[in-house]
Symmetry: C2
Subunit: 292 residues, 2 copies
Amino acid sequence: MLRPPEHQVAGHYVSEGNLGPLIDGSGLFYKPLQSNSRGENELAFYSSFFSHPGVPHRIRSSFFPSFHGTQLLPHSAAPSDLHPHLVLEDLVADFKSPSIIDVKIGSRTWYPQADDDYLRKCLDKDRESTSLTLGFRVSGVQISGPGSVIWKPERDEIKRFTTTDVRRALRRFVSTNNSGSVPSPDCALATEVYGGSEGVLAQLMELKAWFEDQTLFHFYSSSVLVVYEKRADGVKARVKMVDFAHVLEGDGVIDHNFLGGLCSLIKFVSEILTDPEESKATTPSPQVEDGP
Amino acid sequence: MLRPPEHQVAGHYVSEGNLGPLIDGSGLFYKPLQSNSRGENELAFYSSFFSHPGVPHRIRSSFFPSFHGTQLLPHSAAPSDLHPHLVLEDLVADFKSPSIIDVKIGSRTWYPQADDDYLRKCLDKDRESTSLTLGFRVSGVQISGPGSVIWKPERDEIKRFTTTDVRRALRRFVSTNNSGSVPSPDCALATEVYGGSEGVLAQLMELKAWFEDQTLFHFYSSSVLVVYEKRADGVKARVKMVDFAHVLEGDGVIDHNFLGGLCSLIKFVSEILTDPEESKATTPSPQVEDGP
C-alpha cells in the first residue's frame, strides 16, 4: 500500500490535486518525476551516477539513496492518469522516530549556463536565505523525541532563518531540551550524533574528501540530509545526498560551490562538538570595516 | 631610489599621470593607497591582520607580505602632491628571474552586502572569465628563462582565457619549452615547482587547512601569487596572498567562496603532478544532460 511518507521535511508534499512522494513501507520511496526538464535531468543523473565507473562504490552506497529505475503510478486525484516516478531507497524506512535536517548546500543554486531570469530568481533566494553568507541553508528540520515529533517549524519560518537561527537549529538538533521555548539547547546528544567514527562529522568529512577530488558532477540545489535516532544500543546517524534535478556535468572541474558550502557546514558542526556551551558569540572580531 | 617593479604581472601599473607601485630595490614594495574606500579598507585589513591574536604566526609569515605601515610619497606626475602608500614586502626582491602567476581566487568577487550595480559589474566579469566555472581566474602570468622573460601575455589576452587556456597556462608555467608556439608544454619542472614538501602544492594545502578553520576574514577579489625560479641548488617556490582591498569580516563563518576556489586550483595543480602528459581531455564524461 503506497502512502505519503510520515517523515518528509522538505520538497513537494502530496496535496489535493498535486503529486508528492509516496512510500511502500518496506523500504522504497517513489518520487514523482518533476515536469519540464527537471524530472528528466534527475533521472539522467541517477542513471549516469549508478553506472559511472568513476564513482567509488563506497561513495555510492554510503551517501546516495539506492536507485531502482522508474515506475508509472496513478495520480491520486485522477487515478486514470499514470505518472512516472523515480523508485528510490526510503532513507528513513528503518527509523522509528527519526530526527531529520535537510541542508541545501552551496552559496549559489544557479549554474553558469543559467539564463538571466533563472539566475535572478535563484540569486534572490540565495541572498534572502543564508545560502550566500553561509554557503548553505536549512530547507527543513524535524526533531523527534521517543515516539513523537517535538519541533518541526513551518516552511515560512525556516525561510526566514538567519545565521543565528541556523546555528541554533544545528544545536537544537542534538539537544534533549527541545520542548517549549528552549532558552539554551543542551547539546546533550552532540557527541553521540555529530562525534565519533560513525557520527555525522566523520561522514561529512568522507563526503568532503570525495568532493575535493571528483570532477564528474556539479550538484546545484542538492541537499545533505542528516537523519538520526537514539536507540537502545546507541545513536544511529546517517548522512545522505538528495535532490538531483539540477546536477550538471563537472567537465573536469571540482564542484567548488558545493565543496565550499559543505566545508562551512562541517565547521558549524565541529564547533558544536568543540564548544557545546554556545560561547561563540564572544569571539573577538577583527577591525576590518564593513563595506569596502 | 624608488622605481616601478620589473616583475609586476597584474594590478595597476605606473603610467603617465597614474599612480602605480614602486620598489626600493632592497626589499620594500610601495603600493599607492587606492582612492575611495578601497585603500582605507586594505590598510584596515593589514593593520587588523598583523595585530590579530587569532592569526597563527606561521600563516602570517608564510603566506602574507610583511607590512610596514604607510608612507607619503610624491606623485611622479606632480611631485608636489603627496600620496599615501602601503609599505609592504617586495615578494620578488630576492629573485633574479622569477616566473610569476597571479590567480584571483573565488567564483564570486562581490560580497553579500554589495549593492546591485557593483554586484552586476562583478558578476559580469566573473561570468566572462573562468571565475564562475573554475572558482578562480588568472590575472597575470610571466614565465622567465635564465635572465629573460619568455612568455608574458597581454592583459586582454588573459581576460579571454578559457578553462583550456588556464589549464595550459598552469602547465606552461612549469615547462621549459615555452618559446614559440609550444605545441605541448613539457612540464619539465612540474615535480620541482609544484611537488615536494616545500613546493607549491604543499604550500597551497597548508593555506587551505587555514581556510577550513579561520572565520575571521573573507577575502573577496584577493589573489594567490605563485613565484618560483630555478637556482643552482634547486627550485625556490613561494605562495603568497595579495590584494586585500575587498576583505571583509568573517563573522564566525569560514570563507567558503575562497576555500572552494582554492580547492579547485589545488586540483588543477595536483593533476599536473599526477598526469604531466596532458591526457585529461580523454576522461570519459558522465551522461547528464547539459541544461536542466
